[in-house]
Assembly symmetry: D2
Homo-oligomer: 206 residues x 4
């Protein structure tokens, strides 16, 4: 394989990129000057140096911002320590933070569990979650876990498995596990809503 | 205007139909035989004969199914009479019925009120709603009104105005007005959710 | 079936209309007043009275515009009589007329022939075409037939069959059958062009 | 700016990539292991080493395939030397080569000239084209130049300017400049064709 073919193969695996677009990326790079290519080339491996994974919530964070092995959110004294929100990916955490509606702590699963998947330990950081919940329960009196997962079958399957795998710990420490509320989301139209959404919207009327 | 041009004009006003499609409708009709055209021609005006508007909920219903001036749902003895769901259109009512999650009564507004619209009596059947609420309160001990409106600014504006315009009656008879629950609807992804939806989903966690 | 169900069934067969939109059409009609419905009801069957099929080109035309059994284009003395363009549908003829690039006569096939279709006489007006070509050849010295069909397999199949079925006549009267030129159409981009288009564009370079 | 922000900025400028996708690219890279990032990092700058620009047609080619400063196509003895196809980008050349319909030589402009653009020398390699045409005319008896540009206003503007800027040379050596043929491209439907396409398709009928 030539350099061009190798790079096309690499770009094809980027999220949402097809073979034609991967090819266009390479032609785009070919038209850039050497300095620019060198800059990209320097930045990409420095990602793994400049970014660390938080030892507590597992989120990526900039390593130069602190010497600690834990991210800013996890060390923030103003955040509630007795509530933990579990999300699938860093982007979900970003989305929640942007909404400025939550001031507890987080845990990033790193994925979700497809239905029928057996090896769910390879899909999500279950051991790290169990360890964190146990630690928070003992040190910070953790009282509630919120599973902030997508409202689709894979999200629900993941929630069900986490429920089950945390049961021993949540029973022992008397921790509640909660799901995000279901109902009409912004823009939802009654005419096009499915039975599940209408049922939830009715039950949660206020 | 020729017959063809008149019909194109008429079809253009059908919901979701553009000029090109309206033209195709006419060509489609031109290719049909006389019997078929006569059949359509008979059916369309019989709509207004065969269908009545329910004097209670204002929904369309088939007139041949009963001599009464009230639809099947409104006369159904198994439905709860002390709860009333207010919807914008018949299609919303159909959508709720299909979900089989509600067994109270309905009222069809016939529209919604755009923001800044002053003449809201021309947009929704406000007088009929007020009359029905008063009647239900006295006869059936109405206790709750559910505003099942779309989760968008026009739906919220309509809800606000109904709240205000029903206040005298709901205060007098001690009737609660409720909104459909907000949160994640089926398929909602955390990453792409807006602040409002995340806030509601968090508040309604369960 | 109720009137509403019958009309939904009818609208579903309109070109490009799905079940949901058909339902919306009926609700739209239900909201119209009686006069409006009566008007539509009068117009639709009058389509078959007010519109005739031209005995020459087979196109629809308004019957009140003339007593003749032939449309305006076919009776227009300024149009060239020794050239005939064959199109699939009336809308294709309209599209060509709008372009103001052709001043010969037309013939509307009324359809195209899918690949492997045996009963092509049921798909296109082949007998009428043969009769017209023979008549034009004898009366008007017809010299050229242009097959203005879509540039897709069904269009090409139709062209091939017409070629074959007209061969006896075109040979006898020495009439040329031509296809529309192939190449880049407006907006075509080289990068996304298929082999056939590039080949034709190269051959027809000018 | 952090490394993450810098990379998001860089990916945003990749063709067809929006801010959200650029962010996803970075998160995707963050999840990859160090070896993989090092590999990308090695490949990108090697693009500029492993790829050369052909001194004749200006196309990119792999430098390790030959010591020559000219690409395989330009050195291929089986290709006709008296015909030159001018394309905007390498991808257009690839598209033509894939069609296997052309066996002459190429020139890659490196861009096109927007309407009203004055500094067209910055947009396309006009000097290199003039030099190549002169050289081919003297050495290889160049007889025809084909402008294989997109069938849109920018393509036509570029063609017009090349015509003018090559006029002195093409007049002197009696070289014809041709455009790709216009007409129906694969899939074009008569009903939706614009006037220009119908006009060209009619003129080029065959």
């Amino acid at each position: 394989m030539t350099v061009i073919e190798e790079l096309i193969e690499i770009f094809r695996r980027f999220p949402g990129v097809g073979p034609r677009q991967a090819e266009r990326f390479v032609y785009y790079l070919l038209r850039q000057n050497k300095n620019y290519l060198d800059k990209i080339s320097r930045l990409i491996p420095s990602l793994s140096n400049s970014v660390k994974i938080c030892q507590s919530c597992q989120k990526f964070y900039l390593s130069n911002t602190s010497d600690s092995r834990v991210c800013k959110i996890c060390t923030d004294k103003n955040r509630q320590k007795n509530i933990l929100m579990v999300v699938a990916h860093d982007v979900d955490l970003d989305s929640i933070e942007k909404s400025e509606t939550y001031d507890g702590l987080y845990f990033v699963l790193g994925g979700t569990i497809p239905i029928l998947e057996k090896n769910f330990n390879q899909k999500i950081r279950l051991n790290a979650l169990q360890a964190l919940v146990r630690e928070r329960a003992e040190k910070d009196n953790l009282k509630e876990i919120i599973l902030a997962l997508n409202a689709n079958p894979e999200g629900e399957n993941t929630a069900m498995i986490i429920h089950r795998e945390l049961k021993a710990i949540t029973d022992k420490y008397n921790i509640k596990i909660k799901m995000l509320g279901r109902g009409l989301s912004t823009g939802t139209e009654i005419e096009y809503s499915d039975t599940e959404t209408i049922k939830n919207a009715l039950e949660n009327r206020f």
